[in-house]
């Protein structure tokens, strides 16, 4: 048996597997799910300024591979970053922008939060809510890092100013939706191919984009 096994050429582990293995070997406490989602955002969706926001209480919660996902009290680890294109625009916001003649690409890029999860992981409303509550604490002031807003002429700059003012107002009235984040789910089931799917989750009743 030993001789036949040595004849079979061994496959090189994937770059992702190596990354996860090296991270855990170096004593990094982040779960494999978080690393995989971060990797996916960085290399497949080309997000920039990626950060991991660890609440510290979630190490046991976010790793379904161990089957020890019983800790439901802690907030899950969050990832945040700046997507290359806007991921979500509220329908009323879109209408306003159309009226002003503002294109999505004219706007300042916005930081978006992501909850990494894996298929088969237990989930509950409490966990979802704790992610939203944790997100409020992590609001970061952008220091001009990442993608800068594109150069525009004076007329457009004025329209954009009006837009940002309106945006500030809507944050209070929740007219254009309240807090939002992305729920990322890694396919880890049988025959899991490492696909990551993303869903926009918003607090409250926010009308759908196409209706």
């Amino acid at each position: 048996m030993a001789s036949t096994q040595s004849e079979v050429p061994t496959l090189e582990p994937s770059a992702l597997t190596n990354l996860i293995a090296s991270a855990s070997a170096s004593g990094n406490l982040l779960s494999a799910t978080t690393i995989q989602v971060l990797h996916n955002l960085q290399h497949q969706h080309l997000w920039t300024s990626l950060q991991i926001h660890d609440t510290g209480a979630s190490q046991t919660a976010t790793d379904p591979a161990n089957g020890s996902s019983k800790d439901i009290s802690g907030a899950p680890t969050l990832i945040s970053g700046i997507p290359p294109h806007r991921v979500y625009t509220h329908p009323d916001q879109q209408l306003y922008m159309l009226g002003k003649g503002i294109h999505e690409d004219d706007l300042r890029p916005e930081r978006l939060f992501v909850i990494p999860t894996a298929q088969g992981q237990t989930w509950s409303l409490r966990r979802m809510a704790s992610a939203f509550d944790a997100m409020a604490e992590f609001q970061i002031v952008e220091d001009g890092e990442g993608r800068a807003a594109p150069e525009v002429d004076a007329e457009k700059a004025q329209k954009l100013d009006e837009y940002y003012k309106k945006r500030e107002e809507t944050l209070a009235t929740k007219e254009w939706g309240a807090q939002r984040l992305l729920l990322a789910m890694v396919d880890k089931g049988m025959g899991g191919d490492g696909t990551v799917v993303y869903y926009v989750v918003q607090e409250g009743e926010v009308k759908p984009r196409q209706n």
Binding site: M185, E203, K207
Partner: protein, 311 residues
């Protein structure tokens, strides 16, 4: 816009909450976002179920919310109809005679309308014939061979038509209609007094599923909710009257610590996006043990709208 006398009696019959008065149904729809589901069909043709009529069936949640608001009360229908026996014999006969005269009236009106239609048709036909005859006579002036052919072809048919029509018309108008339409009243309040709230026919508030707080929460925000079986959810939420708006959400309720399969969120989110709706997941933060009332639970509801991110 007349308002029915409150509280509106909701008939509880073999486990269902039903409304039989169209005034109550329209009032609740107009003022309290409550649509219910029309379930009445034709007794002879129950498979004809595209357009249904009274009675209106309410979900237990809808009935409970109306009772909690003091707009309605639940009436034990079987008990309420015990009164039928205590009706005076004379009153009963009087009521039956009234129903019969209503039926006779309806039959007469229908017969008259039929006659009118027939006369109208006959008149149109004869006008047409006269016109064609004139046209034929005109054409006949030019060509002598064709002119006799047209009236000859036409006249036997017209004679037959005439006989056919007049014969049947004579039969229906001259005789008293043999079959009087039976009138089936939708409510029993004319013969019986309207059930009063103080009477002992009133039942307790309906028992509701765990999803009631989310239901009440969305109702209070002006959403119209209907049962969600057709979209595989608990409720479908419309931002206004379902006749005027497309629905916004597929609603699923969960308890605060209830385990949710993440795959169910993906399924709901994807289905919702596929049918241009959002998937709304929500529930009360307080469990039934923690809260004193469903009202308290309703106040603690938090909801999350989910859509596919498209990436």
């Amino acid at each position: 816009m007349d308002q029915p006398t409150l509280p509106i009696p909701i008939s509880f019959i073999s486990g269902r909450y039903l409304l039989f008065s169209i005034d109550d149904v329209t009032y609740l729809r107009r003022e309290y976002n409550t649509c219910g589901v029309l379930i009445g069909t034709l007794p002879q043709i129950p498979q004809q179920n595209v357009f249904l009529g009274l009675p209106l069936e309410l979900m237990p949640e809808e009935a409970r919310l109306l009772v909690d608001k003091g707009v309605a009360c639940i009436v034990d229908e079987a008990k309420a109809h015990d009164g039928m026996q205590s009706l005076l014999e004379e009153d009963r006969r009087q009521y039956l005679r009234e129903l019969e005269s209503q039926g006779l009236h309806a039959t007469r009106i229908l017969a008259e309308r039929k006659d009118q239609q027939r006369d109208q048709k006959f008149k149109e036909k004869s006008d047409k014939k006269a016109a064609t005859a004139r046209a034929a006579a005109k054409a006949g002036g030019g060509d002598k061979h064709d002119s006799p052919a047209t009236p000859a072809n036409d006249s036997p048919a017209s004679v037959a038509d005439f006989f056919d029509d007049s014969a049947s018309a004579k039969a229906s108008t001259s005789t008293v209609p043999e079959q009087i339409y039976a009138v089936t009243p939708t409510t029993s309040y004319p013969p019986l007094p309207r059930p009063s709230t103080s009477s002992n026919n009133i039942l307790a508030r309906p028992d509701v599923p765990l999803s009631y707080p989310l239901f009440a929460h969305l109702q209070s925000r002006g959403y119209f909710l209907s049962p969600g079986l057709r979209f595989g959810c608990q409720y479908v939420a419309y931002p206004g009257d379902p006749l005027r708006f497309h629905s916004h959400f597929l609603v699923v309720s969960a308890e605060w610590d209830q385990e949710i399969d993440l795959m169910d969120i993906i399924i709901g989110g994807r289905l919702g996006t596929g049918v241009k709706k959002g998937f709304l997941l929500g529930g009360p933060q307080l469990s039934r043990e923690q809260a004193e009332s469903e009202i308290e639970r309703t106040e603690s509801v938090r909801t999350f709208s989910i859509e596919w991110a498209g990436m």
